[in-house]
């Protein structure tokens, strides 16, 4: 690697440290180059490209039925919602009416994915900041959610449960009772998370007033999702641009004005309960009927550009497709939430200690394969 001018150490006591690409707290292969003055961070520079798989380019050689499955490998914790975005953009282009039953099942599984994703974030945030025990309590509920996915979709992480126009196959007859069972378990055990991690004063002190992201900065860096909502920015796509039947549902957009890591923690914890509320409205009212709208065997999109955004567990995912009228996209671009959220880290980490960088990364909740794609 060629050293630039800025890599030379100018002051006494200043040095450069590589965090990653194989660092347990980066949850993947993200490399952060950190300029330090003693323990204080002077500058952070993220280096990307360690897990680049050229998903956008690969999509250009796949059909509209196939290209969605690659997005499960982007943000693998909200794989179902990513697949939904891909299906929605095709439906929007073809102007297909999705059956009500398929819509309801999509939302229920999507919100279960969101709870599962936030549970894994809760587990790993505790783990990053030195608490190993919360991990096991969060994974107990996550395992229950994963087994629902396993029974109904056929896989635990990369569900691939979506076709343009609906879902692949109908859910099992015991779907409703199983979801209710898991939700009851989740609600009964939610107080344990507060006892073991939220109420812990040591954990609170590590997050409070650390990593201040102001509302102006959140807008400037393009942050979305819980990260931006903790800075007081209202940006829930489910509320602002409702898609796939979210407009019929009652739920609150969780917004905090704390702006620090603790606010981001609280927003995510509250979002899990909102997801439970959404599922409870739907689970008894899943309409009967078809599960997939009729589409042609080989789907061809009309000539033009199509864009669809959805709210994943980490923010706004946008799928942009340029079609030349053929059976596969001419160009496919994903606007991933984690890439924008990562760009805020160098700004908000400046001036804090190196240990606080872990807290900032834990609460921004980065998924590295989504950054590189």
């Amino acid at each position: 690697m060629i050293l630039g001018e800025e890599d030379y150490i100018t002051e006494e006591g200043e040095f450069v440290v590589n965090m990653g690409p194989q660092h347990p707290s980066t949850h993947g292969v993200l490399r952060l180059k950190v300029w330090l003055d003693g323990e204080t961070i002077k500058k952070v520079e993220p280096h990307l490209g360690y897990i680049h798989r050229s998903i956008e380019k690969m999509s250009e050689s796949l059909s509209y039925r196939q290209y969605g499955y690659l997005t499960s490998r982007m943000d693998y914790l909200s794989a179902h919602i990513n697949n939904l975005a891909c299906a929605l953009v095709v439906e929007k282009a073809l102007q297909v009416e999705v059956p009500a039953r398929a819509q309801a099942i999509r939302i229920v599984i999507g919100e279960l994915t969101r709870i599962g994703s936030h549970l894994l974030w809760f587990a790993s945030a505790g783990l990053d900041l030195g608490g190993v025990t919360p991990f096991f309590y969060a994974f107990r509920e996550r395992e229950a959610i994963n087994s629902i996915m396993d029974e109904n979709c056929g896989a635990r992480l990369t569900q691939n449960f979506m076709v343009p126009g609906g879902i692949v196959y109908d859910v099992r007859p015991d779907f409703q009772s199983r979801v209710k069972e898991v939700l009851k378990q989740f609600k009964d055990n939610f107080h344990e998370y507060n006892e073991i991690l939220t109420g812990n004063v040591i954990f609170q002190n590590r997050l409070k007033d650390v990593g201040i992201l102001t509302k102006e900065d959140a807008i400037a860096f393009g942050c979305t999702g819980p990260t931006a909502r903790a800075s007081g920015l209202s940006c829930d796509i489910r509320k602002m641009y409702p898609y796939d039947g979210y407009e019929k549902l009652q739920f609150d957009e969780v917004i905090s004005t704390g702006c620090d890591s603790w606010a981001r923690y609280e927003v995510r914890m509250a979002e899990m309960l909102q997801s439970v509320r959404i599922i409870e409205q739907l689970i008894d009212n899943i309409p009967e009927g078809d599960i997939v709208a009729k589409t042609k065997n080989v789907i061809k999109l009309p000539k033009g550009e199509f864009y669809q955004r959805v709210e994943t567990a980490r923010g706004e995912l946008g799928v942009y497709i340029v079609s030349d009228g053929g059976a596969s996209p001419y160009r496919c671009k994903y606007r991933s939430p984690n890439f924008a959220n990562l760009s805020a880290i160098p700004h908000i980490a400046r001036g804090y200690k190196i240990g606080d960088l872990i807290a900032i990364m834990a609460t921004i909740d980065l998924i590295i394969p989504d950054i590189d794609r």
Binding site: Q66, N160, I202
Partner: protein, 158 residues
Amino acid sequence: MFIKEYFGTIFKSIKSLLTGMKLTGYYFTHLNKIVTEEYPDNRATLKMAERFRGEVIMPHDEKNEHQCTGCQSCELSCPNGSIKIITKQEIQADGKKKKRIDTWVYHLDMCTMCGMCVEACPTTAILMGNEFEHSQYEKKYLKKVLNKPGSRLKDGVE
């Protein structure tokens, strides 16, 4: 004032730690609430979900007959080219030539278990199996031929 605050924080921290420890202690003493599965030891009782996608299988009946007509729609629907079907011309009893499969090659090392091949199959000749322990010492063992030697197409399947 500073000392009071200092010790106050310490006591609060210890109290919150003990609250967490109480929860751990509860599960430590209630052994019937343990939820972990000890995976390699519970192999005998482990039951995967019915729809779990572990590998592609081709069921054969007792007469060693399968239902694959060699239409290659699975090969076309596979997004990463893990299926390769080699066909041959077979002379039937009535003297007519018909297309039949020779080898149905399945590259397990490339498969992502998306299940699109099973969805595309018009004769339900292939299914997703539940087997998930695919570890091998060498990559060559992951290339499989799914139609059994000497098998033929079931009568009446077109």
